[in-house]
Point group: C2
Chain length 258, copies 2
């Protein structure tokens, strides 16, 4: 029986600059049923504040504590490891790291830098790595659904490039990192065995959540979903839904009686 | 007993724009001993013609047939597979593919594009791949010794990035592809059991040659060599030499009596 819900955002709730049909109403129904929700997103092109205000503009009112981002996980890692960042992230995200003082250790932080993934920027990050910097990746997604409706290269491509040449493995802070899923769960007092994850990425959202021990994972056929994704990764989704509206109905049908 | 010699170029014979001490003289000694030689290079920033004339300018006179490049291997693959190329290579190499007519199949060709590895170029290559293009890599080296004396990202980083996001494996046409080594051997009538490879890249040149069945592989401590490289990859080099001059002396000591 379901007692907690993890939802992906891009490709599930919104896509590009519009909300997906039925998504806002689906979140309202989950809220109305008093189910605790955490939005776990690998979106690294906006600060947490900017993301919350964008969602509000789309009609989705969620609280600061309901939103989990890799940016906040990276800040926590840098604080815990007395490290200052060498950033290879989207310009919008730089302000999230702007007030960190100079510290003895160094870590490169790679997010979805987009056009920032030039050869020179990549090479500077590579040289920092072989000079001893730690290696944080805000996400390792392979692709995302771009504004033109086609798949584009996501940060994972460039994280993998740096891993290959430096022969160092990145610490991945977003999905599908089990630590990231577990931090979201414990913040709402939920346990993996009574939680469901909903996402459009069969690998990072769905297989990632199931590998982290989460009992149920619903793959929605929106966003970056492509035919056959339900069979492409292991473990496969426990359920498949047309969209978030259909996923929410399944969740409400399987909610623990209160 | 040695009957044929494979030599890497960058980091063994020359580095940046200067020839390494004793290297030209070492090649002369091998030539004088009538040992067949093939220069197997993953350098993909120059056409074969430009590379030969550059080597001549450095005092190294070698013939067209002594030089093996991934560019010529790619041309041969495109011809054999009735494919036209989508290039992500160094601008200098584009002319090597300029006269290929329009053909029914398509293949992306990734070389050391340097500054050409922008996000947009990478994303266009990625989209061609998921639209069904074949995937040729001129090389998959992790790093190269740059003009400023520091290691920089080599084409392998960007090949790996595209492999990760497209979930397609590249056909690697340069070292350490066994096919590439074998083509060089057969062009000089040599067999793997009586051939030696000399290189500064413990992985691609040395372990690559040994994995391709070549009997002997000498790692030289010039070019991109870094302390500990003799133990970093499997199989390890059969011999280690200070430079090409010392490697040539070993080869001449172990040459089959004529």
């Amino acid at each position: 029986m379901i007692r907690g819900v993890l939802l992906d955002l891009a490709g599930v709730v919104y896509e590009g600059d519009h909300v997906l049909p039925g998504a806002v109403e689906a979140v309202h129904r989950l809220h109305a049923a008093s189910l605790p929700i955490r939005f776990v997103t690998n979106t690294t092109t906006k600060t947490k504040t900017a993301l919350l205000s964008r969602l509000a503009g789309l009609g989705l009112e969620i609280t600061n504590e309901e939103l989990f981002t890799p940016g906040q996980a990276a800040r926590a890692w840098l604080d815990a490891n007395d490290a200052s960042p060498h950033l290879l992230v989207h310009p919008n995200l730089e302000s999230e790291f702007a007030d960190i003082p100079s510290r003895p250790n160094r870590a490169i932080v790679v997010g979805d830098a987009g056009q920032g993934f030039s050869f020179d920027h990549m090479n500077r990050a590579f040289r920092a790595l072989i000079d001893g910097a730690a290696f944080l990746a805000l996400a390792k997604n392979r692709t995302f659904m771009d504004d033109d409706g086609k798949l584009s290269l996501d940060a994972g491509a460039f994280v993998t490039a740096l891993e290959y040449s430096s022969q160092k493995n990145a610490i991945v802070l977003g999905k599908p990192s089990p630590d990231f899923f577990h931090a979201a769960l414990s913040s709402m007092g939920a346990t993996p065995d009574s939680t469901v994850m909903v996402g459009d990425d069969a690998e990072s959202d769905v297989a990632g959540a199931l590998k982290a021990g989460i009992a149920q994972a619903i793959l929605v056929r929106t966003g970056k979903y492509r035919d056959g994704d339900e069979h492409r990764f292991d473990p496969p989704p426990t359920h498949v839904a047309r969209d978030l509206a259909e996923a929410a109905s399944w969740i409400l049908d399987n909610k623990e009686a209160s």
